[in-house]
């Protein structure tokens, strides 16, 4: 039913990403203090939000799977788990590049980096379970681990906020990015990366569902 929308959706997402790249590299000026490295911020913040969306997708897939056992739930968990790991990796990598430039150290046990490091480990273990787990029970086991891992996320965030000194700049709100063009590019970057992530999630879920259908057809011998 949605096949006729594949091409337009893909083109729209490609256009948005291209527009973001143009804005970041050709339109927005350099930061006075950090120079061109500051441009990494536009990918860093958006990737963090995209990671949260992927984690939420895993949570939804897990809850619905335990209630209904629909095959799309397992496919959603598989896709969400991979994308959560991918975007957490991007956040960590961009954060460490920023940290090295701004604080002269790639990792300073700064609260938000620690948060994403822990999320990265949680979703690394989730993906390892998808690879090495018992295939018969994989959907159930992924759902349980997905729920536990997702509930750990707010806990990690709040615990670090309460226990650590805030070194990370307040980028969003409360006098973060001041330049209007930079602020506009930052917001555009957040929206684009979230949409890009949703597109990848949709696409990857479809691939996982197709794999399941192919496996089922292979049984009819």
């Amino acid at each position: 039913m949605f096949r006729r929308f594949y091409a337009p959706i893909t083109l729209c997402v490609a256009a948005l990403v291209s527009a973001l790249l143009y804005s970041v590299f050709l339109r927005v000026p350099n930061d006075e203090w950090l120079g061109p490295i500051q441009r990494i911020l536009y990918f860093h913040v958006g990737s963090a939000l995209a990671a949260y969306v992927a984690i939420f997708a895993v949570f939804v897939g897990a809850l619905v799977h335990l209630a209904t056992r629909e095959p799309w739930c397992d496919a959603l968990m598989e896709a969400g788990g991979e994308l959560a790991l991918l975007f957490c990796s991007i956040v960590l990598a961009t954060g460490m590049i920023w940290g090295y430039t701004a604080w002269n150290t790639p990792f300073s046990f700064e609260p938000r980096l620690v948060t994403f490091l822990l999320l990265w480990f949680i979703f690394l273990s989730f993906n390892l379970l998808r690879i090495f787990g018992d295939r018969t029970r994989l959907a159930n086991h992924s759902a349980v681990l997905g729920i536990i891992g997702t509930l750990t996320v707010p806990l990690v965030i709040y615990s670090i906020d309460f226990t650590q000194v805030q070194l990370h700049p307040k980028v969003i709100g409360k006098g973060g990015v001041k330049d209007p063009l930079m602020s506009e590019t930052l917001r555009f970057g957040m929206i684009t990366l979230i949409l890009f992530q949703l597109f990848l999630l949709w696409f990857r879920t479809k691939i996982a569902l197709l794999h399941k259908r192919l496996d089922e057809r292979g049984d009819h011998d």
Binding site: R69, R135, T136, D215, E216, G218, D219
Partner: protein, 237 residues
């Protein structure tokens, strides 16, 4: 009469391979079912689904009046390929544990005597031979006079005395108890059964009553689909 177990369009798979396909089956009180089929035909999986130990990948399995089966019911006795016993406990401790959980007031000494296990009751299960452990597993599955008895190859690892004990216990169970017995030793249990179910590659091939089966040849037809027609014609003659 309401069926005690109802399977509706049940399919299940292991490791992306379908082992049971679209099985619809009603099992009524008092039925003594012989479940036959070649290796890998799905007998053990079907029994586990009927016991409620597996939620089928597709389809539903209902038990009695319950609208939906959430987990195994306590009125079931089940013997599978695995022991379902604690190797670190003695025979007496194993049977005592399960009888306490079933809340059935059992004279354990009598049970041990009936299964010829009295002299082994204080031995740790791990110290027993495979055949002796198989006998303890059988005793466990018969505990508490279950309303449904599901036995997967119960004669495996049993000596002739053990088989005789099993047959005598089966002869003594109450009339409305459901028994589903999966075995390759058809001759031993044909007189006991009143219904035959044959599985072939996960599909039901035959589910008729014993009175339509007259010869041993009927059980041979589960080896190939082609032979099934020939076997059916011979029976009807």
């Amino acid at each position: 009469m309401k069926p005690r177990i109802q399977l509706a369009q049940v399919s299940h798979r292991y490791h992306e391979r379908r082992v049971i396909r679209d099985i619809t089956l009603d099992i009524f009180p008092g039925e003594r079912i012989l479940l036959a089929g070649s290796n890998g035909s799905g007998k053990s999986t079907l029994l586990k689904i009927a016991a409620g130990l597996i939620t089928p990948w597709k389809g539903t399995c209902r038990f009695g009046r319950a609208p939906k089966a959430q987990r195994p019911f306590s009125g079931f006795g089940y013997l599978g390929h695995e022991l379902l016993l604690y190797r670190g406990l003695t025979v007496h401790q194993n049977l005592g544990l399960f009888s306490k959980l079933k809340r059935s007031p059992l004279d354990l000494e009598q049970v041990l005597q009936q299964w010829d296990l009295s002299d082994k009751k204080h031995r740790i299960l791990n110290e027993l031979s495979r055949g002796e452990r198989a006998r303890v597993a059988l005793a466990r599955s018969f505990l508490g006079s279950p309303r449904v008895l599901l036995l997967d190859e119960p004669t495996a690892h049993l000596d002739t005395d053990g088989v005789a004990l099993l047959r005598s216990h089966l002869a003594q169970i109450s009339e409305d108890t459901v028994v589903v017995l999966s075995t390759h030793e058809h001759d031993l249990f044909r007189s006991f059964s009143n219904r035959v179910i044959i599985l072939h590659k996960g599909e039901l091939q035959f589910r008729e009553r014993e009175d339509q089966l007259a010869t041993k040849r009927m059980f041979d037809v589960c080896a190939t689909r082609r032979n099934l027609q020939t076997g059916g014609q011979e029976i009807n003659q």
